[in-house]
């Protein structure tokens, strides 16, 4: 097999498009720190929505967290929910618009701390929605406080000497938890910090939206991501740290399918 080598000149040559941003991601700068995992996760969700041809029928719910402005970046109808309440808001939308595609996009603090009750009960009702759960093990937005998913011993501004599980609880594997609920059709954990993971994550998101199309119940796609700012690392360091530490505790793959 010969691999095609593309020269820069060829790339520039008109008509040779090798990559195109989905039209569902708006032009203009994202508000994320350079190197942050949120940007790729946004792109994948929007690519799937575009490829399935459902953008006119898709309503997204943005959380409170760094992705609070997701509605600025995703060129579809979006709502912005109070902190942790996105699954309840999505429930409301889906109940009045059962034929629409509804998804939430939430961080770990939003989904697994303040919104635990909303998460569990939406899943338990088997709400026919997609939950995209970006787990970066920290509260990025508010400046790096401990999240429910912060690893044992991991430092944050509210666990300055490292998370002590005896008093602060254990990092919460909420995707495993909700996978036990009969209402959940699909629960999976993915990552986006390298191309090979990105491809798989996109397949998972696609499957989640197809489940919604087929009325199968709740689909939860967890994406383990870096927060280089919150972790106080360079983007490259944070990807390495993610691989070595986050993935050791939060193993990738389908939990329920």
């Amino acid at each position: 097999m010969t691999t095609a080598v593309i020269t820069p000149e060829e790339i520039i040559k008109k008509g040779k498009i090798v990559f195109e941003k989905t039209k569902l991601i708006n032009d203009g700068a994202l508000s994320y720190c350079p190197g942050c995992g949120h940007g790729v996760a946004h792109r994948l969700v929007m690519e799937v929505v575009e490829e399935m041809g459902i953008w006119q029928d898709t309503i997204g719910v943005a959380p409170v967290g760094c992705s609070v402005l997701a509605y600025e970046f995703m060129n579809i109808d979006m709502q912005q929910a109070a902190h942790g309440r996105a699954p309840a808001v999505a429930t409301g939308i889906k109940r009045v618009f059962p034929e629409k595609f509804v998804f939430t996009y939430q961080g770990d603090g939003d989904l697994a701390a303040i919104g635990t009750a909303e998460t569990i009960h939406a899943c338990n009702r088997g709400e026919n929605i997609v939950i995209i759960f970006v787990n970066n093990g920290i509260y990025g937005m508010t400046g790096g406080q401990m999240a429910p998913t912060t690893l044992s011993g991991m430092k944050s501004s509210t666990s300055p000497y490292g998370r002590v599980v005896e008093t602060m609880g254990h990092p919460l594997k909420i995707t495993e938890m909700v996978a036990t609920l009969p209402g959940v059709a699909y629960a999976t954990r993915q990552a986006v910090h390298e191309a090979k993971y990105v491809r798989k994550a996109k397949k998972a998101i696609r499957k989640a939206f197809e489940n919604q199309r087929d009325n199968k119940g709740t689909s939860v796609v967890e994406i383990v991501a870096n927060c280089n700012s919150g972790w106080k690392m360079t983007p490259v360091e944070s990807n390495k740290w993610l691989e070595e530490n986050m993935l050791a505790y939060f193993p990738l793959g389908d939990i329920k399918k």
């Binding site: 720190c33 760094c66 937005m141 508010t142 400046g143 700012s229």
Partner: protein, 190 residues
Amino acid sequence: MTEEIIIAGFGGQGVLSMGKILAYSGIMQDQDVSWMPSYGPEMRGGTANVAVILSNERISSPILNEFDTAIILNQQSMDKFESMVKPGGLLLYDPNGILHHPERKDITIATIEGAKEASALKNKKTFNMIVMGAFLKIHPIVKMDNVHKGLEQSLPERHHHMIPLNEDAIKVGMAKVKIIHDLKRIAVEN
């Protein structure tokens, strides 16, 4: 005496800590002080500024629309704060990266090549102390022994070995400050 100062530049330039050291130095000479920063995640890699007030009286408003001194470390801050210097006040800036230099004739204008001098010292972190030295040369509002105490108070103990380096940087700033427009006819010996 009351000195109302705005220090403004990029996040990461040590703007906030310069203000803190000035404020602590003020406390060491029994003054009232306030330190009012811009805050929030929008500061990530963006602009940072802090209004610092040192006074012998009870400080009223920490929020100000005019300043005795503006210490300006990037163009955005120049655009925002040049006009807010009180007539007769001081504008001190690092010309590095400044495209539109200040043109006011009713204030004293001085420059300090902070970035350049910091790389000459082979330590980028001395930048803010170089700039502070330049300011203290023109307006010696805090005495050097109080600055020393202020450094002791504001730096965590594990960084105390850095105090001499910081003091050297202040001296560099004092030596290298240049008066561009001398309203008060302050003699600065280079």
